[in-house]
């Protein structure tokens, strides 16, 4: 097992900066998800770890060892491609044996290891089939097995589930997580699917525009987004973000919302409000943390999505909109006037100018 350290990594492609000064540590045996929208630099980050790209600045270390300029065939990382990149002209056996064959492993040992990994990944029955035309879940296991047979201490996975249809993804997620538990490697998993990141990862690293936005456990990142991007990107639907101004009325802190009405701040929220440098803030709260409150903000219902167990209620006033998630028993209709407020301890304050969280961690 090995930890991965990215120190001050910068990657430029001509004038385009793919990664801006990134520092990230992936711990020993950890499953880290690199999460972000397309073009955020997550794949580039992974390619730098794998050695397919050389960083413009900065160093990459595996444990204590600086491997920034070590060529990719000598890094010994396992890599699973988005399309698996199975050698289609070879059989399942030959695919699994490839790495061992390249490093000149004696035939008896090679055969034993292939049998072993095939057993483990339940590929024994199809070991001598051609690898072209196999189903995706077999291809995925084969791609993992092909790398795992070399017992790499680091495993990198590049959106391995993006070609899989939705119904099958849940199965594959479970399978992947199970495999990681068994192999106990340090895993970096690139995805744009927050559900994958949330369900599988020990920690999530959220990226946007080449900048690492936040690193933390899935729950921590979800509950305490460090800035507006993370708040909006995570969650489905994302966090409600309402601009407003801080107001101190006789020692009690409020946010006077632009759309009218105000929200009271309590406890640590009030403290954070008092410590804020600027009065202009964005008040955030999760759709799940919305409750009906006669003293709350007045909005009209614009759209109701009933999706089985949950009901997503869209509310708005002018350009501002709020989404709320209730169970399926909620009785609201389009056009209703409602008053809502965030639940206690659900408010997250962000500085309007920088977008950074005002909460003291």
């Amino acid at each position: 097992m090995t930890s991965i350290h990215l120190d001050n990594i910068v990657k430029k492609f001509g004038d385009f900066t793919a990664i801006q000064t990134m520092n990230l540590e992936v711990r020993d045996g950890e499953f880290l998800a690199l999460l972000g929208p397309s073009g955020c630099g997550k794949s580039t980050t992974m390619n730098i770890i794998a050695g397919m790209e050389t960083p413009t600045h900065g160093t990459v270390k595996f444990g204590e060892r600086d491997i920034t300029h070590v060529p990719m065939q000598k890094r010994g990382v396992g890599f699973v491609f988005q399309n698996y990149a199975i050698f289609t002209h070879m059989s399942v056996y030959e695919n699994l044996a490839y790495g061992l064959r390249m490093n000149g492993t004696p035939k008896a040992e090679l055969d034993r290891k292939v049998q072993e990994i095939a057993e483990f990944l339940e590929l024994t029955a199809i070991l001598h089939r051609p690898s072209a035309g196999l189903s995706v879940n077999i291809l995925q296991r084969l791609a993992i097995g092909r790398s795992a047979i070399l017992e790499p201490s680091i495993f990198l996975l590049d959106e391995p589930l993006s070609n899989v249809d939705a119904a099958f993804r849940a199965v594959m997620r479970q399978e992947l997580k199970q495999l990681q538990r068994n192999f106990k490697q340090t895993m970096v998993y690139v995805t744009h699917d927050q559900l994958e990141a949330m369900t599988m990862a020990d920690r999530i690293a959220v990226m946007d525009h080449g900048v690492l936005q936040q690193v933390g456990t899935p729950i921590d990142v979800y509950n305490n987004p460090r800035n507006l991007f993370v708040a909006q990107f995570l969650g489905s639907p994302g966090m409600n973000l309402l601009p407003g101004a801080l107001a101190d009325r006789g020692g009690d802190m409020f946010v006077d919302l632009e759309l009218g009405g105000s929200i009271a701040l309590k406890g640590s929220d009030a403290q954070a409000g008092r410590a804020a440098k600027s009065r202009d803030v964005v008040c955030g709260f999760r759709p799940e943390a919305v409750q009906f409150d006669d003293a709350g903000v007045s909005l009209s219902v614009t759209f109701v999505e009933r999706i089985g167990a949950r009901t997503i209620v869209h509310m708005g006033k002018g350009a501002a909109s709020v989404k709320a998630v209730f169970d399926n028993k909620v009785a609201v209709n389009v056009g209703d006037q409602t008053r809502i407020a965030p639940q206690d301890n659900a408010i997250r304050l962000f500085a309007a100018q920088s977008g950074e969280s005002l909460q003291v961690a």
Partner: protein
């Protein structure tokens, strides 16, 4: 028939359909008959006779000069034929592999990025587009005893080099092969480049990550994926070597003596100088059969099912 099973009704439906197919393909079939089958039969017919243009009768009456398999037995006993075949084999055995290796090397080079790639690419393709007769004249002049090639060799070695490229019976075949390599390496390069471009990059990267060296990647990934293309490229060139004519004829006219007389030049000379047309018809058929066997052998290397070579 009042009672009919589903099978017979299907057959009844299919019969007129297949007859329609026959009618629709008839024009094409007639065309093939005239383009391919008719000349072949004509050649076969002539090869059993002693007919020449001086025989005083139309070729359609060649059966009056019927000699059975005489042309064939003559041919197999003709040292000039075997000599021509041997020289053709030398070109196949030396020039084609050189063209292949050069083409493969260049194609591999063009998979990397380097400065001046586009200019070099267009320059490389020029020889292939030059009319072979013109190329023949070019090399005829280049290979003169006092020509530029000897001039260059003199300048490089500091000696007075005057190699008789085209008039020395041992060297002339090499001069011809050099011209052939110059002209046809670009074709090999183009075909193999297309093959290399079709090798999935991700699989190469995957192989690299699994620890494969460049040579291992070439042997285990690239070669199996372009195997079919290599077979096709080699087959095209081998067949073309049997047809080498214009460049060679202008450079040496098959000489000195018969030192560069390959199969096509042999045919041409027998036809124009000895007017033994029926003899050439027999020889042509033998070569055709030999090439067909070769083509079938090449098919052996092609993938047997769809999954290979993806």
């Amino acid at each position: 028939m009042t009672h009919s099973s589903p099978q017979t009704s299907n057959a009844a439906k299919d019969a007129p359909k297949s007859r329609l197919g026959l009618w629709l393909t008839l024009p094409a079939q007639l065309l093939i008959l005239f383009v391919a089958v008719f000349p072949l039969l004509m050649q076969l017919y002539l090869s059993f006779s002693d007919w020449t243009p001086l025989a005083g009768r139309s070729w359609t009456r060649a059966h009056e000069l019927w000699i059975g398999f005489w042309n064939y037995s003559d041919l197999f006993a003709d040292p000039r034929f075997w000599g021509a075949l041997w020289r053709t084999m030398i070109v196949i055995g030396i020039a084609v592999p050189v063209e292949f290796l050069l083409g493969l090397g260049l194609a591999t080079l063009f998979m990397q990025d380097f400065r001046g790639k586009k200019v070099l690419y267009s320059t490389l393709l020029v020889p292939m587009m030059i009319v072979p007769a013109v190329a023949g004249y070019m090399f005829f002049l280049l290979f003169q005893s006092d020509g530029p090639i000897n001039g260059l060799l003199s300048a490089l070695t500091g000696l007075d080099v005057s190699i008789r490229w085209l008039t020395d019976p041992d060297l002339a075949i090499f001069a011809v092969m050099i011209a052939d390599i110059w002209q046809w390496t670009p074709l090999m390069f183009l075909i193999l480049l297309a093959g290399l471009l079709g090798v999935p990059r991700e699989q190469l990267t995957a192989a690299t990550l699994l620890g494969a060296s460049p040579w291992q990647r070439f042997r285990t990934i690239v070669l199996p994926k372009i195997k079919v293309i290599i077979v096709i490229a080699l087959a095209i060139r081998v067949i073309e070597v049997f047809k080498i004519f214009d460049t060679l004829f202008i450079m040496t006219a098959g000489g000195p003596g018969t030192a560069t007389e390959t199969i096509s030049v042999f045919f041409y000379k027998i036809m124009t100088l000895e007017l033994a047309w029926s003899y050439v018809a027999a020889a042509g058929l033998v070569i055709l059969i030999a090439l067909s066997i070769l083509a079938v052998a090449a098919m052996y290397f092609l993938p047997k099912s769809k999954e290979a070579g993806k």
